[in-house]
């Protein structure tokens, strides 16, 4: 393992511990009133990239820790490497690459994981934005798998917003945090129209202070 890889592992460990400590203070709930039970059914789970930390925290606690499988996509960038190391520590299936294009190698790996029973999760504006503008990968994946898109959004009363491209949200200690689950969307039909529907559905679920 070279120095860069050791640094990534150390950073991922630090992030893991920090997220565990911070997350333990959150007053967290899943709000699935719009789509009861949607998280338990098969689908492609989608969320905006800025919501990554609370979504990852939720998936770690509520799915991976209970033996469920989750497949995520991590880019080849430095941030992506960190996400990949952290994801593997948590036991997630990690595909490397981008979801920007329909047939990209990253999406192919995610497709294989999903076919083998893992829950695919995608932030359709990742890995580099523009923020809250969906690229076609999530819809292509859902269509190829014949699965619906399950939109998830963050509601949080007190958040820090980082200076990253997506203005990543970090709920403050003791914040009220809700993961809102929207009704599953049929990805079939015109991909551009399905991508627009996904954008609207994701935006409708967000309630985070600037």
């Amino acid at each position: 393992m070279d120095a860069g890889a050791r640094r990534d592992v150390a950073t991922a460990w630090a992030l893991r511990v920090a997220l565990r400590l911070l997350g333990a203070t959150w007053r967290f709930r899943v709000d699935d009133a719009r789509a009861p039970g949607a998280l338990e059914r098969r689908g492609v789970l989608c969320f905006w990239h800025f919501e990554l930390l609370p979504v990852a925290w939720f998936l770690r606690r509520r799915r991976l820790a209970r033996g469920g499988r989750v497949a995520l996509l991590a880019s080849h960038s430095r941030d992506g490497e960190l996400g990949a190391v952290l994801g593997r520590m948590w036991g997630a299936d990690v595909a490397r690459g981008s979801s920007s294009r329909g047939g990209s190698a990253g999406l192919r790996a995610l497709y294989r994981f999903a076919r083998s029973g893992s829950l695919p999760i995608v932030s359709p504006d990742g890995p580099r934005g523009p923020a809250r503008r969906a690229k076609p990968g999530a819809v292509a994946l859902a269509q190829a798998l014949s699965l619906p898109l399950v939109p998830v959004g963050l509601a949080c009363d007190r958040c820090w917003r980082l200076r990253s491209w997506d203005r990543m949200a970090v709920p403050r200690p003791f914040a009220r945090v809700a993961l809102r689950v929207g009704p599953p969307l049929d990805a079939a039909g015109d991909p551009a129209a399905a991508t627009e529907r996904l954008e609207r559905a994701l935006d409708a679920l967000v309630e985070v202070p600037d």
Partner: protein, 76 residues
């Protein structure tokens, strides 16, 4: 089965066209209806059945059936 035959078989399945009607000059999107989701399935099936790896750059260069067949002529 030769790699080219595998490709034609997969393209026939995804496009709904008979294999005998698929020609090298055909445009994957315009004539065979291989959109993004089908491209994803095509690439996965070719990689899995032929034990090869197709890079993003190679995938982006696949515009016609002939481009797919050309890629399969080369080593994995």
């Amino acid at each position: 089965m030769r790699p080219g035959d595998v490709a034609i078989e997969v393209l026939a399945k995804l496009s709904g066209k008979p294999a005998a009607e698929i020609r090298p000059g055909m445009d994957l999107t315009g004539e065979l209806g291989i959109d993004s989701p089908k491209a994803l399935q095509l690439l996965v099936e070719l990689e899995d059945r032929l034990h090869i790896e197709i890079s993003d750059e190679e995938a982006a260069r696949m515009v016609t059936v002939g481009d797919v067949l050309d890629r399969l002529q080369r080593p994995a």
